[in-house]
């Protein structure tokens, strides 16, 4: 078995290591290099200057803020089936159903609210929806408001959110 034994090299016992100053010199070389490169041209620093510069790496699979999709004739795609509200692990979707009288479908939501403070952005509602009526492809990652009520999005707000990746209307309702 002796050929399987690996001896880990131990450092720190030579005179050079014990002197410690050469190691400090080596370390300073690294930090000084970074410091002077970045000082000479601050554009080499790869920092996103956030409020002015927006992130450029949001992909189409990114789960952003929710939106409700439309049918091709611009009416709401949702049929108030309560699938999303049932799938929601944090119980943050509140739907009130009403009868639909434009002969497109039988039901539609009278009110559709999402409490984004409760929401954990898991995407289960999107998975659960049979009508492709709710989506999280807006690419919006920051929602601001002054009170808790501002974060409860109603039907109109959700319908006005636009998809950021081209697919505008519901794929399941045509």
């Amino acid at each position: 078995m002796s050929h399987n034994i690996i001896t880990t090299p131990r450092y720190g016992n030579s005179f050079k290591d014990k002197l410690y100053l050469p190691a400090i010199y080596e370390g300073c070389k690294v930090t000084f290099k970074h410091f002077f490169t970045n000082l000479n041209d601050s554009n080499t620093v790869d920092t996103l200057e956030y409020p002015e510069e927006q992130p450029r790496d949001i992909t189409s699979r990114y789960r952003g803020l929710h939106r409700l999709t439309h049918r091709p004739d611009d009416t709401i795609a949702c049929v108030a089936c309560f699938m999303c509200a049932t799938a929601c692990p944090s119980d943050c979707i509140f739907i009130e159903a009403t009868e639909r009288d434009d002969n497109k479908d039988e039901k539609m939501p009278k009110s559709f609210k999402i409490d984004t403070l409760e929401c954990i952005f898991c995407g289960y509602c999107v998975e659960a929806c049979p009508c492709d009526a709710i989506r999280m492809d807006t690419g919006i990652f920051s929602l601001t408001g002054n009170s808790r009520e501002d974060f409860v999005l109603n039907k109109e707000q959700l319908l006005s959110n636009k998809g950021a990746f081209g697919e505008e209307i519901s794929c399941a309702r045509d």
């Binding site: 400090i24 930090t31 970074h34 410091f35 041209d41 554009n43 620093v45 920092t47 510069e53």
Partner: protein, 430 residues
């Protein structure tokens, strides 16, 4: 007391107060920007007054305002000694501030045969003053740690104290070797000694004459000022924030500022003792006064070059990337500061030209003093930068490693160095 001596004393005092106090916000800003640049970040660069951000220095003043208007909070478990609990940070701060006051900013000014020292405290025993007052600072730390009634504070204070005790010895012994070498306890005389040369071509700076003692001095001063890699007194991974744990608002800021003043003082002592103080290498004060016109000609050329470089630097770095729509007044700021710098350069050049064309002994002396003050400030800031960069380079030592280094390595080395120095000095002088 003549008029001139009063003016010089006042100027020296104001200069000392400014250099000690006004450098605090600058040092805090420098620390944060340097940390950013070392770690490939930008650091604070957004706070501004009417669009003037001066690279972010304004952030420090915003921090001061924030600390001042914060609630003064006293932990309710502190029953006794509330007064000393409050005074403790002030002791540390004042000690660090007073220790700075014996550093000479320029050579002794001779006006009408009267020698006027450019020190806020014109004393001839500066080294002793520094050693005595510099060590008082830790008393504030002990008071704070003890009266906080908190185990972390107590541990932090204990660590700080034992570190000061163990590093005071090598520091003192290293300084004694310098005293033996320079044959004086006066900081100004030390600088004068260092303005000569030895072996004919090297400037006789302490770092070249006494390399071992210089390294011990630098290491011991890093430990004295509680800077990395010796920040065991406030190791947040072990003892929260050490002796500062129970402090908040301006009381905390006092400790915080005391740290920076102590760092500034340590830099000043290091450059005065081993880097030639306010002198340029090879150039003594007499040489500067005798050949003032040639130095002035060089300065007249250097200042516009520096201003040009500064403006180019600002144009390149005080700007946002093309992808950002608004530059938040950065171009305007660059323009205003550029105009200010150009005007300043023109005025300084005009004054220097006037001094060359109509030589005046007193004016020349004052100009030389100002040049020396500027050299001192540049060296001071350079060494502060060194302190800061070391902090962002090295990890923190373990507590037992700190003590081992102090007692087992630095103390014998400094004793050995003192021994050799004494033999050499006696041998050379006999």
């Amino acid at each position: 007391m003549s008029m001139a001596s009063i003016i010089v004393a006042l100027v020296a005092f104001v200069l000392g107060a400014l250099l000690a106090l006004l450098t605090i916000p600058v040092l805090v800003w420098l620390e944060r920007r340097t940390a950013g640049l070392v770690q490939d970040r930008l650091g604070p660069n957004r706070t501004n007054i009417f669009g003037f951000r001066l690279g972010g220095v304004v952030q420090s003043f915003a921090d001061v305002v924030k600390l001042l208007i914060k609630e003064e909070y006293y932990p309710s478990h502190i029953k006794m000694g509330k007064l000393i609990f409050m005074i403790a940070p002030i002791i540390t701060f004042v000690a660090a501030l007073l220790a700075f006051m014996v550093i000479p900013f320029a050579d002794t000014l001779v006006i009408d045969g009267e020698a006027l020292r450019m020190q806020p405290l014109p004393v001839e025993y500066g080294v002793f003053w520094y050693l005595a007052i510099g060590a008082v600072g830790v008393i504030g730390v002990i008071f704070g740690g003890w009266l906080s009634h908190n185990k972390y504070s107590l541990l932090g204070a204990m660590r700080a104290t034992s570190m000061v005790v163990s590093y005071e010895l090598p520091l003192g012994l290293a300084i004694i070797s310098f005293i033996v070498t320079y044959n004086t306890v006066d900081f100004n005389a030390m600088v004068a000694w260092q303005s000569s040369t030895f072996f004919g071509f090297l400037p006789s700076w302490g770092i070249l004459v006494q390399p071992l003692a210089s390294i011990i001095l630098i290491i011991a001063l890093f430990a004295e000022t509680n800077r990395n890699p010796f920040t065991v007194a406030e190791g947040e991974s072990e003892i929260v924030a050490g002796f500062m744990t129970e402090y908040s608002a301006m009381k905390f800021a006092m400790y915080f500022m005391a740290e920076y003043v102590a760092m500034n003082t340590a830099s000043a002592v290091i450059i005065t003792m081993i880097f030639g103080g306010y002198q340029l290498p090879y150039v003594s004060t007499e040489m500067l006064i005798d050949n003032f016109s040639s130095f002035a000609y060089v300065l007249i050329l250097i200042i516009p070059a520096f201003v040009y470089w500064m403006i180019m630097f600002m144009r390149k770095n005080n700007a946002v990337r093309p992808s950002v729509s608004t530059d938040s007044g950065r171009i305007f700021e660059t323009k205003v500061i550029s105009i200010f710098l150009v005007v300043l350069a023109v005025v300084v050049d005009a004054i220097l030209l006037y001094l060359i064309l109509s030589p005046n002994a007193l004016a020349t002396q004052i100009a030389v003093t100002m040049i020396q003050v500027i050299i001192f400030v540049i060296k001071l800031m350079a060494f502060n930068m060194f302190f800061i960069l070391i902090r962002w380079t090295l990890p923190r030592f373990r507590y037992d490693q700190v003590q081992t280094l102090g007692w087992k390595y630095l103390l014998p080395l400094s004793l050995f160095n003192l021994f050799v120095t004494a033999i050499v000095v006696v041998g050379v002088n006999s």
